[in-house]
Symmetry: D2
Subunit: 384 residues, 4 copies
Amino acid sequence: MGAAHSHAWRTAHRFFDLPLTPELRTLAGRNPETLAAAAERYGFAGTTTRWQDVVEDPEIDVVDICTPGDTHREITLAALAAGKHVLCEKPLANSVAEAEEMAAAAREAAARGIRSICGFSYRRTPALAYGRRLVEEGFVGEIRQVRAQYLQDWLADADAPMTWRLDREKAGSGALGDIGAHVVDLVQWITGTPIEAVSGTLATVVPTRPAAGDMQGLGGKGDVSGERQQVTVDDTALFSARLAGGVLGSFEATRMAQGRKNAMRVEINGSSGSVAFDFERMNELEIYDATAPAGRQGFTRVFTTEPEHPYAAAWWPTGHGLGYEHTFTHEVVDLVRAIGEGTDPSPSFDDALHVQRVLAAVEASHDDGSRWTAVSPTEQEQDR
Amino acid sequence: MGAAHSHAWRTAHRFFDLPLTPELRTLAGRNPETLAAAAERYGFAGTTTRWQDVVEDPEIDVVDICTPGDTHREITLAALAAGKHVLCEKPLANSVAEAEEMAAAAREAAARGIRSICGFSYRRTPALAYGRRLVEEGFVGEIRQVRAQYLQDWLADADAPMTWRLDREKAGSGALGDIGAHVVDLVQWITGTPIEAVSGTLATVVPTRPAAGDMQGLGGKGDVSGERQQVTVDDTALFSARLAGGVLGSFEATRMAQGRKNAMRVEINGSSGSVAFDFERMNELEIYDATAPAGRQGFTRVFTTEPEHPYAAAWWPTGHGLGYEHTFTHEVVDLVRAIGEGTDPSPSFDDALHVQRVLAAVEASHDDGSRWTAVSPTEQEQDR
Amino acid sequence: MGAAHSHAWRTAHRFFDLPLTPELRTLAGRNPETLAAAAERYGFAGTTTRWQDVVEDPEIDVVDICTPGDTHREITLAALAAGKHVLCEKPLANSVAEAEEMAAAAREAAARGIRSICGFSYRRTPALAYGRRLVEEGFVGEIRQVRAQYLQDWLADADAPMTWRLDREKAGSGALGDIGAHVVDLVQWITGTPIEAVSGTLATVVPTRPAAGDMQGLGGKGDVSGERQQVTVDDTALFSARLAGGVLGSFEATRMAQGRKNAMRVEINGSSGSVAFDFERMNELEIYDATAPAGRQGFTRVFTTEPEHPYAAAWWPTGHGLGYEHTFTHEVVDLVRAIGEGTDPSPSFDDALHVQRVLAAVEASHDDGSRWTAVSPTEQEQDR
Amino acid sequence: MGAAHSHAWRTAHRFFDLPLTPELRTLAGRNPETLAAAAERYGFAGTTTRWQDVVEDPEIDVVDICTPGDTHREITLAALAAGKHVLCEKPLANSVAEAEEMAAAAREAAARGIRSICGFSYRRTPALAYGRRLVEEGFVGEIRQVRAQYLQDWLADADAPMTWRLDREKAGSGALGDIGAHVVDLVQWITGTPIEAVSGTLATVVPTRPAAGDMQGLGGKGDVSGERQQVTVDDTALFSARLAGGVLGSFEATRMAQGRKNAMRVEINGSSGSVAFDFERMNELEIYDATAPAGRQGFTRVFTTEPEHPYAAAWWPTGHGLGYEHTFTHEVVDLVRAIGEGTDPSPSFDDALHVQRVLAAVEASHDDGSRWTAVSPTEQEQDR
């Protein structure tokens, strides 16, 4: 994440007209031995092992938080209190309570002109942003159904080693929170409609894994000892969701889908059309126009590299695709513009809080035999 | 269905070596005015408006039942009692109780050398039959997860007219029973594992539809009057399933998937590989071999027209695809061979009964707030 | 071919309304030992080892000629002279001179109400017939360029055995005449424009092959002796073509395209759109509409199983594909209708003759260092 | 190109371990009014309107030449003479004579430790680099045939305006030189085999175009006056090629392929396998293994984002694709490493010279009625 974020901060103003020019001032990290090299590589002017130094530095305007989820709350609250704009990676926090506190702080800060954004960067994929625009413009008509999957396979191998991502204390959640969160956010954003209830099931298909010599996550095998450790988070999450207004959606987040590397798929079916996306082909959007002349209907593969597509005009000629890191660069673009224009960027912490409530409701439903469970806001929010 | 079945009976022995040669003797139907023309077109020697004539005819060996589900039980029982082999279209019956009675009769008849088969013809798609063989041979390793969808779109239009298929009294069930049944059967057959429990949700996304002048089903628009009628079956079914041994599967059957014409999809993910199929490309099977050399892994599009693929050697040279009706022809091939060899064909009525129990459990789960619900066999069966 | 043709004759009137009902009367063949079994399997009432018996039989109306190319001329001329309608497989003949004689005979017979058709059956693929209709209706606008390939791979293995298809004396030509002929016909038919000149290159990439014990063709390995025999036809043909009006096309026919099983591809690019087809996905047509709203343009995958698509309404519901043999069934449908209606079916022998002239021009160009070579009709034709 | 190149120079050392760290010192350009802003945006420390300043600056080690082709020779010769390493964009020059002179200079400079590289950056697409490795390792066996296309559509619209790229004096060549050059280079590089002879045809399908108010190229419409101007380069090039050893390839470069945005396709067919690529899906390589078990053969879609794939390990987790600009970043990586290691990078000027000779031979063949024409090196080279 550090590599992707710093690349975005270095690159955004080189391709987009921004009201302000980012500078990478201080990289905060825990390991003093590797920090200087990282700062050199990523282009930061200085380093610190105390994140408080960043929050307190009067020269710093924006704090970008890529730390594990259990530290998000503390850093974010301090940064907002100190008047820094905040980009906080997803998930916003490891619990709904923490997320509520952060969202409240962001609301309060916004009143002071301080901006907050949560890092659901996939929203900035041109194809998905274009899909959302089509839905908003009525291209699909009345929404009939939603389908969302996030399929990976790096845990299908029972001997893939244990990592901190599979430890509930550190990671908070498994496939549900890590990748399921993305498709929850995307569906709500593209349809413009919150999820109100869910019925879900979680599973840990491979319940123990070899201990890794070092716990570096994401498939790094490291030195593996003979002992097996307990996986304490889900590796598979299946759930149905009901959106405000009644539309049903099927959701799946799994790391057991052998052969699917990063198949983050969203499909919106409507009365007059559909849009469908798969991140494994991130430069394409499939659209179906049910109002096209009979005989000529079918899914159209739109190669979202035309000037008409969001973000695309800043880059290469038609037909030349973008990569994963562009989603972060676009996130920076939108944040910096919001700061410059004095507007609130999206996704807000409230958006991220709602995602977290959906995930919590899936867990609650799972614990209740998968019964339909409401995604309830707090009373305080209901009063607003 | 009549067109497809009669084509299969006329064609099977022209391409496959069969121990017996089918003859189309009597077409039974309700409408005396159209019956003769239908028999002429389909190649039957005679006709009757009393199905009993077929069952009683000593010259007839096989009864092929394509009538609506509410008549299956009576005809089947009579035919089996009369010593006829029976091919009964799916769903086996409109209720579990009826299906149980039929399965019991089939078991009893089998003891007398009378064969029964239920028409889940998709099993005879070469790509799916090959996928099953791969799973059976261990290609995917230990199964980790299952994914099955049957997506159609002919009800996404709110003004598609009412038909008997949308009337619970006549059709018994909607998307769940009509198309969901196929993917339930396929998953159980390919994995060789029954579904033991489900958590499901049904919906009728478009609850009223224009009355049709005539009720002919499957999108036929006919004359539509102004009045709207109540749809009394589901048009969308979402459910999770737990297979014996614990594997989870996500299932979806819907007629709201705008743009998806006949996307019957099954994907089996395992520890060492995957197989994936979509009926919209019925001559292809996607397979993933996790044991292939690093760097060369990926989904392989197998064009299942090689001599090694089930049924394919009887047809055309490599690379020349088959169509929908071949699934029926292959069904006839397998039935006639079973009759000739004195073996029991598949899917048995017991297989079909279990499918029906799964569907019933989905409905029960839906009525219970989508709670996990066991697919319970009767005590009698448990004793067997 | 016999299996496919007889299937078509048995099946056409079962799905289409025809003015006449075909009956399979006499199967002519050379091997008296296998003939009776073949007639039984294919559904013929009788057999003969003298093709003349067929031509002379007053009960026979249509002669369907599936013999090797070197016998087409004699049988066709006799059949037409005897007042039989003729379906002659492609290539029409093994030389332009023979084809000219046959085309002249067909023209003369047409004046007497006798119909002739050459078996370029791919024209009857619904997707291709629909593509042609779109081009005719102006969907692609002014044609800018044409691209056609027929890629197979069964000769990429240097040890695939010798067959009669690789012997110039028997087969006349190799990849060019056998598969290249199809794409030449399709391009001329879809664009409605004849090819006027070509620049081509032929090659025999694998010049010797193991002798097969029996020479049965198309990849059948049979018993292979140690000796290698000379391949006397091309296995690869590359050519550029200029259509009347000046449009350029690139053509390729090869049996060296490892992994391509039956990739017969045609793409027409125009000023306002494109159509593209690949027989490996024969139920799909890709269409591109350059007049669609900016941002929504892309290739649309039309699943040509809708009632609006040629031939499709006679078969299955939307989304249920057809197979290779349907192209023959549709050919029979069109021929029988033409006979019933007293019209001339297409492709005519003149169409087939022009294909043959194009192939001959490719060979002439190859012999002349690939120089552009005119496809010249005879003086007689120029006078007509 | 300036945007892509400067991005690469800024980014390479952030993701790859390089022996030297690039700094962007001086941007040379013609327009003093826009130069400062461009330098600011692209991250250059200074600017000049005299390219000689760059060549003469003792602080500068590398000169990156992105100017139009008619200036390449002069700048390159000066830079090499001054002891600067040179990255020169393709085409190396506008004539074979110029390219010969440059290649000779590069050879001479190499003896002094000065490195030269020509910007055929597509070689650095991970999928293509991996495809080459597979061919080199024998994956496809003996090469049987080659197929290469570069399809674009921005000139299919007859009213797309005139640009300098369509003016022979400025651009030297059209589709052949601009995009055809890429696939010529790729085929030679992947197969490791030079093209020895060609038979080709060029065309200008749309011979006149509206004059543009400003001539900015690549589809920019600008202000279009009523007058139409003559297009003096080809917009379509078709040719066959014979590689050393005799393998045939079919080539096509066109800007008339309506709907194809950047379909740069290369396919290598061999005795035991194939590799196929399309830049519209630049993160995928299709591979076919003819030695796989019968029944399991088919094209495998390799998602070239695994650590085993060239360049991929430096970027994102498996399944997260790269974009167009990465090809330039990888080019810089390879050049800087070559400089650091004292080796000669690829493609050399000699490689680029041979590409240019192939293009010249295509033009010569076209002028000679498309006859096969040798790609002849000069006598001097033959002696080497």
